[in-house]
């Protein structure tokens, strides 16, 4: 077993509403949907029309610039609607599920019996490829590239995040199969970031890196930066824990199975716990009847409170998410809030008394708690990014569109989630993640 890498920088935001370790199976949803907007930079092209019958694992749409990357139905049924937004951008492809629709057949084989090409083809065809993302940029991996390594983080340190040791407790064999499949895709190593004492430490055919420290220690980008940092020209692939299971199941059974476990969390949830459902499940199935009705509006987030998408009750689970959080919206005026001693207020700074009670769990709402300003306070972001990077200077390079500087200051190493804590803590309420994504988009456009 390798040495424990201790990360000091970062912050655990202790919020009320972590999921109790109990799993409830939700009934098969009546509808599911894929949202092409979950994939930054994707230009989707539809493969189906409304009213088409699809089996689980059959293509719904594909990537215009990489037609081999297809996005398949997580469950069989009938395409009932294709919802579009401004300029006819596709927002949702909705399927009414049908138990008898069946699923597409793929090869059932032990990964060791297959060549790298066969493995890649099967993952692409089954629609599991989009789960593999690449660094730089945090976009869907390009199947033609050769990654120097594959990284999987097996723990999540974000507020109220799911505990994968619990989620995968009966599925470690499938996880191992998935890892063995992934190992075929790189000439480098598959790297597993684990927390101390985790069951994942006993996974084979991988390099285990043990990390200890506050959020964002569980972010795969931080783990890469502290073991094998990305330089210009390097490509590393990353994949989420539960998505490895999908790959494992595909090769074990020859069928796609997009069943996943969602941690349903947040201060507005009556009984936060884990639910088993499926990729693209409707938010309504999760939330209806399960929220406290406190008389003020709440915000439903697919994902965690730092990086997730704001969704409505009518929307669907985002593609990569294993968590749904519900917090108060906080869209109300607060009298002299900035002058409050702040005994009940969680703050990363010591400018509020809340800091004196570090063990307490807090409720945070979505209020900005202040107006947007220029950068004023220095050395604020650095405290939350445990890697060799100067966040403010990188962000400023992005703001002035200086591509050379962005490259020199390390834009290849980071995606939004790695800077999410900076945005949380920012005194000037700067939209850090938005700026970073704009910078990444510029890089993709200019350098491809």
């Amino acid at each position: 077993m390798s040495e424990v890498i201790k990360l000091r920088k970062g912050l655990n935001i202790k919020l009320k509403g972590s999921a109790e370790k109990a799993l409830e199976k939700l009934p098969t949803p009546a509808t599911v949907a894929l949202k092409p907007t979950n994939f930054p930079g994707l230009t989707p092209k539809l493969s189906v029309k409304v009213d088409a019958e699809v089996k689980a694992g059959e293509a719904l749409f594909y990537d215009k610039y990489h037609p081999e990357i297809v996005f398949t139905a997580p469950i069989g049924g009938k395409v009932v609607s294709i919802n579009r937004g401004e300029r006819r951008r596709i927002l949702e492809v909705v399927i009414a599920t049908d138990k008898n629709a069946g699923s597409a057949e793929f090869k059932k084989a032990a990964p060791s019996a297959l060549s790298a090409e066969e493995v890649k083809e099967q993952i692409l065809k089954s629609g599991l490829w989009p789960f593999i993302k690449k660094r730089p940029y945090g976009i869907i991996a390009n199947p033609e590239e050769k990654p120097k390594a594959i990284y999987i983080s097996t723990f999540d340190t974000a507020p109220m995040a799911p505990d994968y040791d619990f989620v995968l407790q009966d599925q470690m064999d499938t996880f191992q199969t998935g890892v063995d499949v992934l190992a075929k895709l790189t000439e480098g190593d598959v790297n597993l970031g684990v927390k101390p004492g985790s069951a994942f430490s006993s996974v084979k055919n991988v390099v285990i890196n043990t990390f200890e420290g506050p959020h964002p220690a569980g972010n795969v980008g931080i783990q890469i930066a502290n073991t094998n940092p990305i330089n210009k020209g390097d490509v590393v692939w990353t994949i989420n824990v539960q998505d490895v299971l999908f790959i494992g199941r595909l090769f074990e059974t020859g069928k796609v199975d997009f069943t996943k476990t969602i941690a349903f969390t947040g201060s507005e949830v009556k009984a936060p716990k884990y639910f088993e459902t499926i990729v693209g499940a409707p938010i309504k199935d999760l939330v209806s009847g399960k929220l406290t009705t406190a008389g003020y509006s709440s915000r439903i987030i697919s994902g965690n409170v730092l990086t997730g998408d704001k969704v409505s009750e009518k929307s669907f689970l985002s593609y990569y998410d294993s968590q749904v959080s519900v917090i108060p919206e906080g869209d109300d005026y607060e009298f002299m809030g900035w002058a409050d001693p702040g005994f009940g207020k969680f703050s990363a700074t010591k400018a509020y008394f809340g800091k004196l009670f570090p063990k307490k769990e807090y409720t945070l709402n979505a209020n900005l708690h202040g107006g947007e300003r220029a950068f004023v306070v220095s050395n604020q972001y650095e405290k939350y990014v445990p890697m060799d990077i100067l966040p403010v200077f990188l962000l400023k390079a992005i703001m002035v569109n200086d591509i050379d500087k962005m490259e020199q200051l390390g834009i290849y190493e980071v995606i939004e989630e790695d800077f999410a804590l900076c945005e949380y803590a920012c005194t000037s309420k700067i939209e850090v993640q938005k700026i970073l994504r704009e910078g990444i988009n510029t890089m993709i456009k200019e350098l491809g």
């Binding site: 987030i301 703050s347 979505a366 050395n379 060799d388 949380y424 939209e431 850090v432």
Partner: protein, 393 residues
């Protein structure tokens, strides 16, 4: 509280674009957000945000300055009654009230002029009123001699806010510390009213001073070769000087608050003081040089740590050098920036007879160089990263 909220909400339509009172929009918004934290919620990225905002940050700095202000008020009275020989017969509150009545007008003028200009610029530029001046407006009176005429305070403040800050784009964009710009403006435009022996102690025209009275600051006397001040008085602050800068005790109380809350950079404070101490030691070491005149040699030989409690050194190190906007932004840069401020302040103070106090100029000079320091720190960072790329390739 609801009636205040309703007042602002009800008047809001009248200050919208096109409405009759649109010219009051930024004032309305500024006042509203002062009373009530806005209801705006996160639109992109992180859904939760810290409770800290610029109002809180600036409010903390103002709070940290309060001990220095209160002490400055007391000291103004103390110096006055000491000069006229009535110290023993005057009560604590009378001394304090005397100072309060002399200092308050300066504070009010500074805020009214500065905030007025801020409001106008916010309106013209269509942005929210920014909080930076909450601190600048508090700092300006504290670094003025008590006898500064109010009209001078007004034009210095206007100069600082317009040319020191707004021309660069407002809070967060300025190169120099606005409060020091105000001080420097007066220092060069009206030198007679900003230095000398008659500006530090408030006296009415009919007041008769005691024979032993000298209005000179201990620092000025030290420069002339008289090390006859009491160290205890200098540390506590019962010496002539700018309103808020005399008391190391009050300033250090503020420093504790800034460091504990993390709002002021302890690195800058420590490195500035270290720089001043090092330069003081160097002067001590060369004070035996035969080429020096007796007064200069005496000033050179002053114990190095006295420099830290005399004049504006401590005030500058704690409250001025640490202004996050005009200071170095990188952590390594902060050490260099602070250290050089300390060194330069003592050099200017002791070796250049044209300037009795060096802190203001040292900080302004290093404000100017802070971006350069950062440039090299960032360049070093980039170089290190590039090297890493080569090693792994």
């Amino acid at each position: 509280m609801n009636f205040i909220k309703n007042f602002f909400l009800n008047t809001k339509p009248h200050v919208q674009k096109g409405a009759k009172f649109h010219w009051l929009h930024s004032v309305h918004d500024g006042m509203f957000t002062l009373f009530f934290v806005s209801k705006d919620t996160s639109k992109s990225g992180a859904h939760v945000h810290d409770y800290i905002d610029l109002k809180r940050t600036m409010g903390m700095v103002v709070l940290a300055l309060v001990p220095a202000l209160l002490f400055g008020m007391y000291n103004t009275g103390y110096q006055h009654f000491k000069a006229i020989g009535e110290l023993a017969s005057t009560g604590f509150f009378e001394i304090f009230i005397y100072g309060l009545l002399r200092v308050l007008p300066i504070l009010i003028v500074s805020y009214v002029v500065g905030l007025g200009i801020e409001f106008v610029f916010a309106q013209l530029r269509g942005h929210e009123i920014q909080e930076g001046f909450l601190v600048s407006g508090f700092l300006i009176p504290l670094i003025m001699p008590i006898n500064t005429p109010l009209w001078m305070v007004a034009i210095a403040t206007a100069f600082a806010v317009i040319l020191g800050k707004e021309v660069f784009g407002g809070t967060g964009m300025n190169i120099w510390n606005p409060a020091l710009v105000a001080r420097a403006f007066l220092f060069f435009a009206y030198p007679a009213q900003m230095s000398g022996e008659s500006v530090w102690v408030r006296l009415a025209s009919g007041d008769k001073v005691v024979d032993t009275f000298s209005g000179a600051t201990p620092m000025a006397r030290a420069a002339a070769g008289n090390l006859d001040y009491s160290v205890a008085d200098a540390f506590i602050g019962l010496i002539p000087g700018s309103i808020g800068e005399t008391s190391a005790v009050a300033i250090l109380l503020g420093a504790i608050l800034l460091v504990v809350t993390g709002i002021g950079s302890w690195k800058i404070m420590v490195s500035t003081i270290a720089g001043g101490a090092v330069m003081g030691l160097i002067l001590n070491a060369v004070s035996g040089n035969a080429g020096l005149s007796p007064e200069v040699a005496t000033y050179f030989s002053m114990p190095f740590w006295h420099h830290l409690i005399l004049g504006g050194f401590m005030f500058g190190a704690i409250f001025m050098a640490t202004d996050p906007v005009s200071a170095s932004q990188t952590e390594k840069g902060k050490w260099i920036y602070g250290f050089l401020i300390g060194i330069l302040a003592i050099i200017i103070r002791v070796i250049n007879p044209a300037f009795p106090e060096g802190m203001m100029l040292a900080i302004l000079l290093m404000n100017t160089f802070a971006p350069l320091i950062d440039h090299y720190v960032v360049a070093g960072h980039i170089k290190k990263r590039a090297k890493r790329a080569k090693v792994s390739a």
